[in-house]
């Protein structure tokens, strides 16, 4: 047994914690130190690894790749979906395959943090890095976010508990944490007795406008009659912030019909103090896909290639493409739509030829015509990924595997096309 003194990166979520120590025995991972419960589960690998199959029968890799290429070649409008749990290298290959096949390409951000990432990449929302938060942030808002459950090391590593360069007195004196949510989450418990602002479901836009009023010296009103005194108190805390940050969770993203109320709030906050926003991306490389597709097409998701033309819009989203039965084959990599999408939407995947590439069996793979196992990125294979705050992180291989990396599989499919 030897303690490996190199630090590795956990690909369990988009925090991409880069302080993971491991113990190896005979080239196998035996212990994972520092990672959270979810990270540890992710790194030790799943109990049901994927097998190489065509039509439910085990086969060799070459045959599966050839079958997958055949499906894509014969399709007129294939969907290439997933990517949030894929390396950046595999994502770039996927974009190439979508272009080559005149396909639809979309990722989980399409029904997740897409609107926030898009606004940041278009320069409409001021952002910062998690390292800035650790060293400078004095007012931290978890809005519709519950990192205690979704990103377990978020508060301890970056946003609340650390003693950063300019926050040496830590959470006890130097930081104020606030939760704005529809329920008393575990994160809200940590924020303390007065740290929770509990609003009704879909009450977010009104609460944002009430805060803008309070920050402008006006009486903050909401149709649900939120305690005006508390809104004024909150506005006062925000006004005094030297370095504020809003962590936007899915609770906020889903509650807003459009981003205008958020823009109004962020503009107001930045006229009286300094506030940043970081989207709480879940999967480890969702942000990477957004940046890679943006670089190629100018859009972060929901794209269809049509010769040299690039089409973009909600009609090219995975949800609408499946609902409208607009696609005639699908390749799913680094995602499990049968787990994460409405059942009524994903049922259509069973009607079309389906390819799944993943280290583990998934609900989607149970219905696939072709399944191709890949190495677990960050453990069995290396690569790179982009953290939730836009910082690129190198991923090192820890253990050996006889499985190809996700990037190599996508390269071979692309070549076979």
């Amino acid at each position: 047994m030897k303690l490996d003194n190199n630090y590795y990166v956990c690909t369990g979520c988009a925090l991409l914690c880069d302080d993971i120590a491991v113990e190896l025995e005979g080239g196998k991972l035996t212990k994972v130190h520092t990672a959270c419960r979810k990270g540890f589960a992710f790194m030790k690998g799943c109990s049901s690894p994927m097998e190489c199959t065509v039509d439910g029968k085990k086969t060799d890799l070459g045959s599966a790749i050839s079958e997958a290429a055949g499906i894509l070649r014969n399709a007129e409008r294939p969907l290439i979906f997933g990517h949030a749990n894929s390396s950046s290298g595999a994502q770039k290959k996927a974009i190439g395959i979508a272009r080559k096949t005149n396909g639809y390409i979309d990722d989980t951000s399409s029904f997740c943090q897409g609107p926030m990432v898009e606004a940041i990449m278009e320069g409409r929302l001021k952002t910062c890095t998690l390292d800035d938060v650790r060293h400078k942030a004095d007012v931290i808002i978890y809005w519709g976010a519950d990192p205690a459950n979704s990103h377990p090391r978020h508060m301890s590593r970056y946003s609340y508990f650390p003693r950063g360069k300019e926050r040496q007195k830590g959470w006890e004196e130097d930081r104020t944490a606030i939760t704005i949510d529809v329920r008393k989450s575990d994160t809200a418990e940590i924020c303390g007795e007065n740290g929770l602002y509990q609003i009704p479901v879909k009450g977010d836009a009104e609460f944002m406008d009430a805060l803008v009023s309070a920050l402008s010296g006006k009486i903050p009103k909401t149709s649900y009659d939120f305690d005006k005194k508390r809104v004024l108190e909150l506005a006062s805390i925000l006004k005094k912030a030297k370095f504020g940050v809003i962590f936007a969770g899915l609770g906020m993203v889903y509650a807003l019909d459009d981003r205008e109320p958020l823009y109004r709030l962020m503009d107001k906050l930045n006229s009286v103090s300094s506030f940043h926003l970081i989207p709480m991306a879940g999967h480890y490389n969702m942000r990477g896909f957004n940046e890679n597709l943006f670089e190629e097409t100018g859009y972060i998701n929901r794209v269809k290639f049509n010769g040299t033309e690039v089409l973009h819009g909600p009609e090219y989203s995975v949800i609408e493409a499946l609902r409208q039965k607009a696609v005639d084959a699908a390749l799913v990599i680094g995602a499990d739509p049968s787990s994460s999408l409405p059942r009524s939407v994903v049922r259509y995947l069973e009607e079309i030829p389906l390819i799944v590439i993943d280290p583990c069996q998934t609900l989607t793979s149970l219905k696939a015509n072709v399944t191709i196992p890949c190495g677990l990125v960050g453990v069995e294979t290396g690569g790179s990924a982009i953290r939730m705050d836009g910082v690129e992180v190198e991923l090192k291989q820890i253990t050996d595997t006889d499985r190809l990396s996700d990037e190599e599989i996508m390269t071979r499919i692309s070549e076979a096309l």
């Binding site: 369990g12 399409s110 479901v201 787990s339 059942r343």
Partner: protein
């Protein structure tokens, strides 16, 4: 055969809000098809008033249905101090997604965190298994 069987089980319309849970999420990563993941996913957390209204006890099974589908899950009390009768909480999972409406109003984003179901007692019924959902 008792008189009770001729009475229909009380029903309650519930607004479902979904959330994340680290224990359930880790169980999924470890074994999507395992018992732990089902145990931590196929659950609805209710206000005590709704538990009374549905004439069930904590730990009983509850049938949740709407136009999209139906699932049987375990009913638990939410434990929240603030009353929330009419609103119940489910951890995000294939069980909740079986009931999420597909209509997105053209936005491409379903209402994962805010949808309605009709709940009624399913006492004695088995919790819907993950392979029965797909």
């Amino acid at each position: 055969m008792g008189f009770g069987q001729f009475l229909s089980a009380p029903e309650a319309k519930l607004r479902i809000v979904t959330y994340r849970d680290i224990f359930q999420d880790s169980a999924k990563v470890s074994s999507l098809f395992g018992e732990d993941y089902e145990k931590l996913s196929a659950v609805i957390r209710l206000d005590p008033k709704d538990i009374s209204k549905l004439a069930i006890k904590e730990g009983d099974t509850l049938l949740l249905k709407n136009a999209l589908g139906k699932v049987v899950v375990k009913a638990l009390s939410s434990g929240y101090e603030k009353p929330h009768s009419g609103t119940a909480y489910m951890v995000n999972s294939p069980w909740s997604n079986a009931l999420v409406p597909e209509d997105t109003g053209g936005t491409g984003v379903p209402e994962f965190k805010d949808f309605e179901v009709l709940a009624s007692s399913a006492k004695g019924a088995k919790i819907t298994g993950i392979r029965e959902i797909i």
